[in-house]
């Protein structure tokens, strides 16, 4: 599949508008990135800043049609940060393997699941480990 190289426009799809997802969306939107944020529950979008300039989609991102409507084939970055590890893992793989998205990031609460994804080119962020590291920095 031939991909267009967008130099300055990152078209970013974020799945999950919880505390992490919404914060991320606000940060990226303020940096002029083009954002689409997907969440199963419309109420979650209330966490977005009033100045959020992007698209919101209320749907279950695990369904192929939803990702297609979100134009995932044109995405430069896909970030899956729902509060369910397995959902994040599945979406990350769909983004990487089926749509060849250059940058795919998944949030994993359970660090032991990371082993599967190291070889697939999916960046996994484990808040549990990061928090522990940050906290230990203030102690050590």
């Amino acid at each position: 599949m031939i991909r267009k190289i967008n130099r300055k426009d990152d078209y970013i799809i974020i799945i999950g508008c919880g505390r992490l997802g919404s914060h991320l969306a606000n940060l990226l939107s303020a940096s002029k990135k083009s954002i689409v944020i997907i969440d199963k529950n419309e109420e979650s979008f209330k966490r977005l800043n009033p100045n959020f300039s992007g698209f919101t989609i209320e749907a279950d991102a695990i369904e192929e049609e939803v990702l297609e409507e979100a134009k995932i084939d044109q995405a430069d970055v896909v970030v899956s940060v729902t509060n369910d590890d397995n959902t994040n893992i599945m979406i990350a793989q769909i983004a990487k393997k089926i749509y060849n998205i250059p940058k795919v990031i998944a949030r994993l609460v359970e660090p032991n699941k990371q082993k599967i994804y190291d070889k697939l080119g999916i960046v996994t962020i484990c808040p549990t480990i990061l928090s522990a590291e940050e906290i230990s920095k203030t102690i050590i």
Binding site: I62, E63, E64, D84, D85, N86, T87, I89, M90, Q93, I94, K97, I98, E110, N112, K113, K115, I116
Partner: protein, 221 residues
Amino acid sequence: MNIIIIGGREKTNFLVKSFISKGYNVTVINEDYELCKKLSRKYKANFIYGDGTKPYVLEDAGIAYSNILIALIPKDQDNLVVCQLAKKVYGVDKTFATVNDPKNVELFKKFGIDTVISTTSIISSLIEQRIFIDDISNLVPIEEGKVALMELEIHPDYPIAGKKLKDINLPDQSIIGCIIRKDDAVIPKGDSEMLVGDKLIVFSLPDVQSEVLKIITGKIE
């Protein structure tokens, strides 16, 4: 043969029964405490009460020694993760998963799961062909539904009761593979007679299933 079954309810019960009768070692991981308790009283198998998508639970269940993992968890993505952990991290030979979304059949196979069955597709294809499930005592899809295996008991009012195999006009893409008569399994030949009470094991391609049933049971729709 060491088999792990994760999730599922009634299916788990029957699978455990079937595998134990074949002499396999079975471990069940389930989040339903009552189910674990009930089944552990019935069967000589290992029961682990817990979340099978967590690596430490899988390790407790002896996944390192398992040959086969069957994932029957309600959410498709959970089955995906469990099977991938099994294959890629613990080296389990074969993984089976059921999925709700038919689109996930192709998807999961691309992600490395050996066999994926969509119960939705089977049920909807049955409804499309307007097959009534009472007539079939057992329906096993083979190769993800590419071939259907049906087990039917011959009732007195069936048109084929008393007929010989050679006189029955089954469609080309179907065959009566086996007759079970009082615990004996017989591979039928042209002269074999279909008796009331016989259990027929019929193989057919899905698109002629309803025709096969019509010919055997005489019931239209």
